[in-house]
């Protein structure tokens, strides 16, 4: 079968620059009602630009059509299954989008007086309070604009805590199954990453941990459930060992979806954690942001939280009950220019209220149920390196398929031909040919059954007709792209050729 003939006609959309024609424009202004100015006169010759930036020139219908055609080349959650492991691609409720567009939120300037922004401040305070209740942490700062930013804030808090006790310490332990942001963030906070191997069950090797901790251990960063979809069942021991040498225990909240209403990390000994509002709390991923990565801590660390924390004091002043609290002399400071990604917080807050306590618990239950159902149905067709019930996600290996020359990447690409997004591939690094699958609770059994059928078909194709799989995708707008060329002949901004 030929890939090219199956592709729809409308595939290569010119760049916006190629669609430009001189003299067109897509937006108009009211007539200027004050005297005009001459830039050379008011700014001086030496400050002024010779020629205006070479922006494209198009009318509104042309611009809208261009971006709509681009949109149609994307896979997205509203269209189909998106089982990217550790990314929690759940459905994004529409009402959340609508309430985040209320002008009372979108047009509110952050420099407006506290008395004039009580609604927004109350929302932030309440969201932080709910996140604390869900996680068992004592206080939450909503400042970090993304998960990685939350990790950086967390590691700086660890540093500030130890510095206050006389020695910042030098090492932070991370499991070999950790996300790459963990070692990158702790490095930025001045720490050295010490990698700890996973044991044969995919969990932190507790004996090894006992050997490597010492008085220079500032913290351990743990994703729980971890990226293999396994709950760290010896977490109590792990926490005890690290606390035993005076270290702190950080939880990467990327997989919090599995724990909602089941385990509160703060209650079982974690000292601090970040949340991903764009994973657990349903705010959309937006094709790669904006996210939001609040950081929560237990009581001994509250002084160090990034400021401002949104505080409440009914007696503060006339018309002001909620306010941004900057009076935190031990705070690590700001990690975002203002309050973080406010509109993302609006959506997460709406989500929590819509679900309530019972609904949040059912999120976790159904995320686990869906993952275990998929794992059970697929383990006969793909290698399952870590056996037993999984949590919200699991990792398969395409090692059996590799015998026929089919790699995890090929399986991923072939899935695209069936209107399903690929799982996360080649991660975690400790599983060869990894396919990491997270269905989330918002998929129906029908949608899971479709995925199972497709995966089994691909396993069969891998044996009977591997060329179809290694040559995939053939039904997408473009076929496999030349990444070597992209890297060698760097073309990252358009020029007329």
């Amino acid at each position: 079968m030929s890939g090219a003939t199956e592709r729809p006609d409308l595939v290569v959309e010119p760049t916006i620059f190629e669609l430009s024609s001189p003299g067109r424009r897509g937006y108009s202004f009211p007539p200027l009602d004050v005297p005009p100015v001459d830039p050379v006169e008011i700014f001086g010759e030496d400050q002024v630009r010779g020629e205006a930036p070479d922006f494209p020139e198009l009318t509104e219908p042309e611009v809208v059509r261009h971006f709509t055609r681009l949109a149609e080349m994307n896979h997205h959650v509203d269209r189909g299954f998106y089982p990217l492991g550790s990314c929690t691609m759940k459905y994004n409720p529409k009402v959340n989008e609508d309430v985040a567009q209320l002008p009372g939120f979108t047009r509110l300037h952050p420099e407006a007086d506290e008395a004039h922004s009580q609604g927004a401040l109350a929302l932030m305070h309440n969201l932080a309070t709910h996140l604390a209740a869900i996680s068992g942490m004592d206080e939450v700062s909503l400042q970090p604009p993304a998960g990685a930013s939350g990790e950086l804030a967390g590691m700086l808090i660890v540093r500030a805590y130890h510095t206050d006790r006389g020695n910042p310490r030098s090492k932070v332990i991370v499991p070999d199954s950790a996300h790459g942001t963990n070692p990158a963030s702790l490095t930025l906070a001045g720490y050295e990453a010490v990698e700890i191997k996973s044991d044969s069950s995919g969990r932190v090797d507790v004996d090894e941990l006992r050997r490597i901790v010492d008085s220079e251990t500032a913290a351990i960063m743990i994703t729980n459930p971890n990226t293999l979809g396994v709950f760290e069942s010896r977490i109590a021991e792990i926490i005890e060992i690290v606390h035993g040498v005076g270290g702190l225990v950080y939880m990467d909240g990327a997989n919090l979806n599995a724990l909602l209403g089941i385990v509160r990390p703060g209650e079982i000994g974690f000292d601090l954690m970040h949340f991903n509002l764009h994973k657990t709390f349903s705010s959309p991923h937006g094709g790669g942001g904006p996210g939001s990565g609040p950081i929560g801590v237990t009581s001994k660390l509250v002084d160090y939280l990034p400021y401002p924390v949104i505080a409440r004091d009914e007696a503060r002043s006339r018309g002001v009950e909620y306010y941004p609290d900057y009076e935190r002399p031990k705070s690590i400071g700001k990690v975002h220019g203002v309050y973080g990604n406010f509109l993302v917080m609006v959506k997460a807050y709406a989500y929590i209220l819509t679900l309530g306590p019972g609904g949040l618990r059912r999120v976790a239950e159904n995320a686990l149920l869906n993952a275990n159902y998929l794992q059970r149905k697929l383990e006969g067709h793909y290698e399952l390196p870590f056996k037993g019930y999984c949590q919200h996600e699991f990792v398969l290996s395409a090692s059996r398929q590799k015998e026929y020359g089919v790699k995890a990447l090929d399986v991923a690409k072939r899935l695209l031909d069936f209107g399903v997004h690929a799982p996360t591939v080649y991660f975690p690094l400790i599983v060869s040919e990894a396919l990491m699958i997270e269905p989330t609770e918002t998929e129906s059994k029908r949608s899971l059954d479709h995925f199972i059928r497709v995966m089994i078909d691909i396993a069969r194709e891998s044996e009977s007709n591997p060329e179809i799989v290694t040559g995939a995708p053939s039904r997408t707008p473009v076929s496999r792209l030349d990444e070597v060329r992209a890297s060698k002949d760097l073309d990252v901004s358009w020029r007329r050729r």
């Binding site: 897509g26 937006y27 009211p30 005009p36 830039p39 700014f43 002024v48 205006a52 922006f55 971006f67 709509t68 681009l70 949109a71 896979h75 509203d78 459905y91 409720p93 002008p103 009372g104 979108t106 509110l108 300037h109 952050p110 407006a112 004039h116 922004s117 609604g119 927004a120 604009p145 998960g147 930013s149 590691m155 990158a184 930025l188 209403g261 937006g286 094709g287 790669g288 942001g289 904006p290 400071g333 220019g337 203002v338 990604n341 509109l343 209220l353 819509t354 306590p357 999120v363 149920l369 275990n372 059970r376 695209l416 609770e441 918002t442 997408t476 473009v478 792209l481 992209a486 358009w494």
Partner: protein, 450 residues
């Protein structure tokens, strides 16, 4: 449960297939003593109708332009956004998609970001821009880390006329590094060039904002010349709207340009999400933080786009990555791309000229009021500082009742400017809006008998 499709019957059947007696079997790996003993202490559940009412109530507690005439700016500006922008960013194809890891089914997101990068490159005069950063403040911190990686020197000079939010975030980012942060004082509202020159020896990065936080144009030619000579990379923090009229950073010796692009099609939204950008010359592409999209071709020769230079990033290089950043501000960058495309070359220039004209009109009218003077003499764009005969907060409070917010109190950021207000004007302000500000302030001054 509107968002969970499994029925009780589905659950029973799935558990049977799994071979589990009950849900409890699935969480057998979680020791009992670690599980919660009570329900979550959060409110809800709310129906869609109840939720909407509650959110409308919260939104109505905030006061926004249309209720008031606001001259608040300071890095975040209330420009009009073209109607089409929201319709494009509201397409689920864009907002419900993830990071474009599978390029073959993400060409829409990838090409849109490539176009964003191209537009930022054209504004700044550089070859390479990334897919965006969280905001202008974190872009400043990332740029300093990038610049010192290029220069391999430890001293970081930042002008005190740069946005206080940027300086604050920079302090946080540098607190655990071996970099030394030195603030350069101001002279007449702009960077004190003599003080800068005195600190340049062995400097590893210099950050200057132009136009600066107080709205004033910096002597960038002079700064560019002395910084270039010192060998330190110059980071120019720039306002993209101003670049319709002002010389791009590439022309005055900057090595890196950064800034906040919220002013191009993004709501003020209580300060987030915002849109940071960073651009530099091609030879520094591998030092750049964050995601970069590149053009290439597919197996059959069609043009297509991929994430490129990924070896810089944390998911591959882990602790040796150029930055810990993972996500960008994808959807926000899309909004700005659509807005810039609609404005086009002529629209961008007209926007900047309207802002310049209205700001100038406002400054002139205010300076005619007895008791008000312009704090600084230099040329300015989009905002300016006025000095009142009394503490600026007094004027703010008094005018608030009349529905006018005259600007930001400079005293919050600079101790020696207690009587000053930073007044910001956009194309949204009509002449009448500006005239009401002028008459409002005049009335207060008169009533106080100053």
């Amino acid at each position: 449960m509107p968002y969970v499709p499994n029925t009780d019957e589905d659950r029973r059947e799935m558990l049977r297939e799994i071979g589990a007696e009950s849900f409890d079997d699935l969480i057998a790996g979680i020791p009992r003593e670690l599980r919660m003993g009570s329900d979550l202490d959060v409110p809800g559940p709310l129906s869609e109708l109840e939720l909407t009412r509650h959110m409308q109530h919260l939104a109505a507690m905030n006061r926004v332009p249309d209720d008031v005439i606001s001259f608040l700016g300071g890095g975040i500006y209330d420009h009009a956004t073209a109607a089409a922008v929201g319709h494009i960013t509201g397409l689920p194809h864009f907002y419900t998609a993830y990071t474009p890891y599978q390029a073959e089914v993400s060409q829409g997101t990838l090409q849109a970001i490539y176009e964003f990068q191209s537009l930022i490159a054209r504004l700044t005069g550089f070859d390479v821009a990334n897919a965006s950063l969280y905001d202008g403040a974190t872009a400043g911190a990332e740029a300093v880390l990038m610049a010192t990686a290029i220069s391999r020197r430890k001293k970081v000079l930042v002008s005190s006329t740069a946005n206080p939010a940027l300086r604050s975030v920079l302090k946080t980012y540098l607190m655990a590094t071996d970099l030394e942060l030195v603030e350069i004082p101001m002279d007449s509202g702009v960077t004190d060039v003599a003080a800068l020159e005195a600190e340049l020896e062995n400097a590893g990065a210099v950050l200057v904002q132009h136009p600066n936080f107080l709205g004033l144009l910096e002597p960038v030619d002079q700064i560019g010349a002395i910084v270039s000579e010192s060998g330190a990379p110059l980071i120019a923090s720039v306002d993209p709207v101003s670049l319709a009229l002002l010389k791009p950073p590439s022309e005055y010796g900057a090595t890196i340009a950064i800034g906040e692009a919220q002013s191009l099609g993004v709501a003020v939204a209580f300060g987030g999400p915002l849109l940071g950008f960073i651009a530099a010359g091609r030879k520094h592409a591998r030092r750049m933080p964050g995601r970069i999209i590149g053009a290439t071709n597919d197996a059959e020769g069609r043009r297509g786009y991929v994430m490129t230079l990924q070896t810089r990033e944390q998911h591959i290089r882990r602790e040796k990555a150029t930055s810990n950043i993972c996500t960008n501000q994808g959807l926000v960058a899309l909004a700005a791309t659509v807005q810039m495309s609609l404005l086009g070359r002529a629209g961008l220039v007209e926007l900047a000229l309207q802002v310049a004209a209205k700001t100038r009109y406002a400054a002139e009218q205010l300076s005619l009021v007895r008791g008000i003077k312009l704090k600084f003499d230099g040329a300015f764009f989009r905002e300016f500082v006025i000095e009142l005969p009394f503490e600026a907060g007094t004027a703010k409070e008094a005018l608030s009742d009349a529905g006018i917010w005259p600007g930001i109190k400079c005293g919050c950021y600079y101790d020696d400017m207690p009587n000053c207000l930073l007044v910001s004007v956009t194309e949204r302000h009509s002449r009448e809006d500006i005239d009401s500000l002028v008459s409002g302030l005049e009335a207060i001054i008169v009533s106080r008998g100053v």
